[in-house]
Symmetry: C2
Subunit: 314 residues, 2 copies
């Protein structure tokens, strides 16, 4: 297949591109290249797959370049997004711009370019302060508590409406927080950086009891290719899948493993409160039965995912 | 209270303003005045309440005028929106612009003006193609099927995130389709216009079996003032209420009543399909227990609402 990956140089995107190339697809990456593992990773991919790999630098506002990128594509993986969940209240407007309006521009260009299929990286943050655990895809209609979650649920809605309105079809993935190699934000990264500077003290955002079903990036990629690549379909127009492990770990547990791996024993202090920042859901525990029914299952435990992530920094 | 009503010259907005003035509040209307019952209605209100009623013409992009309108307000009713539900696929971008981005601009200006309380006119369309009836506010997380519904669910999410992120608080109303005096779009209006031109034939969008719990505009206004005005609160940050009758009527039934009232007996033809247009939910039947627990109940049946609407045209 001819596949376009937006945000293809990012953490999850670059792993997806590696897998798609390995599976024999023609892959075009469309990315603003503000963040991500550009140089070494790109050079390796270009060297290995000179005929099947292409990179186009641009953002969603660059209409002509985006149209060029969309030419003759069978499928778009839309992973380009603002992933700084915490910065929402500091930069109001950013989630809306980069997650929703960018998605809107992509959909409009897809419609004009007659590219009908999209796979979208959404987030478990759309469940807001959920009360039903484990949370399934048809959980009670949530109230949004973060601009990040709000922008993603808005993008999901827009994608779905385009599918029903214009004969497109979508697979939407709601990821639990993802860990693994090339990861460069979030609590593991923060703790690692802080402990490198001061191994004796650590400040934990929240009360340390936030519990989430973190998932390893290779397992996420398994999910991303499973249904979209291997089971093409045209109906129903929209399918939604949770992607997470069956376990949860707390921030405190994760910090235990990070400290063990780094050989440090810092004194812990807590900022307090149920969430680490405004809109941080205290619990993310996903029910992933839909995806498991297709044969998917996570292969790496949260503990191993944390440890692999820490090792990748070193 | 000092109250700002956006979209205050529209169908629902103008009824709300009348009620708020009657209740003794100071009311400012902020409206682009593209649609709505401007002249005669405004003149009457100005004459009756010269000190408590003010109108400012502007859209959500007019920052300075909006800041002026927000000055010293206790509460904003945000009713300004694109209400042409059907035109979504013909004008993609319009729902996003007028329903979501306009709401975003309002929220940003409210934050800057330190106006912390908003009541928002959302819609039962956010439930998409729901399968649970009657549908309560915490119904299964729906898939959006129309750009209108997607833009409103996105606006709801944004409002909620602002409440959790910036200490604001919101009441969100999900209206069933509203009928009554000053109504000027939707199926009753369409049928009336068509039958005035040709009383012998009528084309019905869909199969005529679409069933919805239409609600009369005065009952909607009861709902809008009940909790917001009479029971002020600061927590929880977001409350959501369905607003509809307990009955449903089909498009065919409604057409029966319209024909009876107009004294015509047209031959009916149907465009076919479960919905009248792409994204039209075949059934809207709301569970309104939350609002009823506050003492609200609809006082006008759907039949009477349809007949009053037709009479208002004459």
């Amino acid at each position: 297949m001819n596949i376009l990956v937006t945000g293809g140089v990012g953490f999850i995107g670059s792993h997806l591109v590696d897998r798609l190339l390995l599976l024999g697809h023609n892959v075009t990456v469309y990315d603003a290249m503000i963040h991500g593992f550009v140089t070494s990773w790109r050079d390796a991919a270009v060297a290995k797959y000179p005929d099947r790999f292409k990179m186009i630098r641009g953002d969603m506002g660059a209409g002509e370049r985006l149209m060029e990128a969309l030419y003759d594509q069978d499928l778009v993986y839309h992973l380009a997004a603002n992933a700084d969940v915490r910065g929402g209240t500091k930069f109001p407007g950013r989630d809306l711009e980069q997650n929703l309006l960018a998605t809107n521009r992509l959909l409009e260009h897809m419609r004009q370019a007659k590219v009908a299929r999209i796979a979208f990286a959404s987030t478990s943050a759309v469940y807001g302060n959920q009360t039903v655990f484990p949370t399934s895809e048809d959980a009670p209609f949530p109230v949004q508590t973060s601009l990040y979650g709000a922008s993603k649920v808005a993008a999901e809605g827009l994608i779905s409406a385009y599918c029903y309105g214009f004969g497109m079809w979508a697979t939407i993935y709601r990821f639990a927080p993802v860990l693994g190699e090339r990861y460069a934000h979030g609590h593991v990264w923060d703790f690692y950086q802080k402990l490198k500077t001061d191994p004796h003290h650590i400040m934990v955002l929240g009360n340390g009891k936030q519990a989430k079903s973190y998932v390893y990036v290779a397992d996420v990629i398994d999910a991303l290719v499973l249904e979209v690549i291997q089971q093409p379909r045209m109906a129903p127009p929209v399918l939604i899948y949770n992607v997470g492990t069956d376990e949860v770990c707390t921030v405190d547990q994760s910090l235990d493993w990070i400290c063990e791996e780094m050989g440090v024993q810092p004194e812990r202090q807590y900022t307090g409160g149920e969430g680490g920042w405004p809109g941080d859901p205290p619990r993310i525990e996903l029910h992933c039965g839909r995806l498991r029914n297709l044969g998917w299952k996570p292969t790496v435990s949260i503990r191993d995912a944390v440890i692999r992530t820490v090792r990748s920094f070193e």
